[in-house]
């Protein structure tokens, strides 16, 4: 669980880093919450696999919230479904990238895959540990979920 906690703290750093650059998409303070991830929500997922860590990391929210985030991220006046999936996978990739860079000294082999966008319910094995970060926003709550296979 320590690695999961370290990862989650790195994700918080990633969200904060996003706000310091040109990608101001959130307007709330990220906080870790002790709840199961709302996996019925759509969003973008990135796999990260290393020598110590193997996890799925996702940015999920109600679709209307994702649309608002995409509008902020792109600066477009209107976004279609392709724009939303494109922008949200990119935001997840950026936050995950910051977290990965922060964790690389713990796990030098950590490698990320290409992000994917899922509209439907994510089916996960029962034996997973979860960590959830909530970012309250005027566009609606945004969640960063991390799923890690429990040790056998």
């Amino acid at each position: 669980m320590s690695d999961l906690l370290d990862w989650s703290m790195s994700v918080v750093e990633g969200v904060q880093a996003l706000e310091e650059g040109i990608f101001k998409v959130f307007d709330g303070v990220p906080r870790m919450i002790d709840e199961k991830a709302p996996l019925n929500l759509p969003g973008a997922w990135v796999s990260l696999i290393g020598g110590r860590l193997a996890l799925q990391f996702g940015l999920i929210a109600e679709y209307a919230t994702l649309e608002q985030l995409a509008l902020r991220f792109t600066g477009f006046d209107l976004v279609n479904e392709i724009d939303v999936t494109d922008a949200i996978t990119e935001v997840a990739n950026i936050v995950g990238g910051v977290a990965k860079r922060s964790m690389i000294s713990h796990d030098p082999l950590l490698t990320s895959g290409l992000p994917i966008f899922l509209f439907g319910r994510l089916v996960v094995p029962s034996q997973v540990d979860q960590a959830l970060i909530e970012v309250p926003s005027s566009a609606g709550n945004v969640y960063f979920a991390t799923l890690v296979q429990k040790d056998a």
């Binding site: 040109i22 991220f73 600066g75 990238g97 990320s112």
Partner: protein, 122 residues
């Protein structure tokens, strides 16, 4: 000046173009490609003065794009703008002929300072 932007995200290509315009390249001609294979073809077709590429892309990724470009004898100034950016990747980028690697999220100042540092002139 012609600048080739390679990124599988249309949103990110647009953001990079916007940043480059704000950094003083408002008169540049921008050429876009959605993966390394398309970027390689457009680099050969348009002979850009600067190439800015993502690292992770489908089909041909950014590193392979750079390797193929250099193998063909093309020495266009090439830099990565990527969510990657671990020390190993920076070393790999340099050893394959990249001039810079900007990790996302970036600021406009990062973009401007990096391009100035590698001698890309307006």
């Amino acid at each position: 000046m012609r600048i080739l932007i390679a990124d599988d995200s249309r949103a990110m290509r647009m953001i990079v173009v916007r940043q480059l315009r704000q950094a003083g390249f408002e008169d540049a001609e921008f050429i876009e490609a959605a993966d390394g294979a398309e970027a390689l073809a457009k680099a050969r077709e348009h002979s850009p003065n600067l190439i800015v590429s993502d690292w992770n892309m489908p089909e041909v990724n950014g590193l392979e794009f750079l390797r193929q470009l250099r193998a063909s004898g093309d020495d266009t100034v090439f830099g990565f703008v990527t969510s990657e950016g671990t020390p190993d990747m920076i070393q790999l980028a340099r050893s394959n002929g990249a001039s810079f690697l900007i990790a996302k999220p970036f600021t406009p100042e990062t973009f401007r300072d990096t391009l100035n540092a590698v001698g890309v002139e307006l």
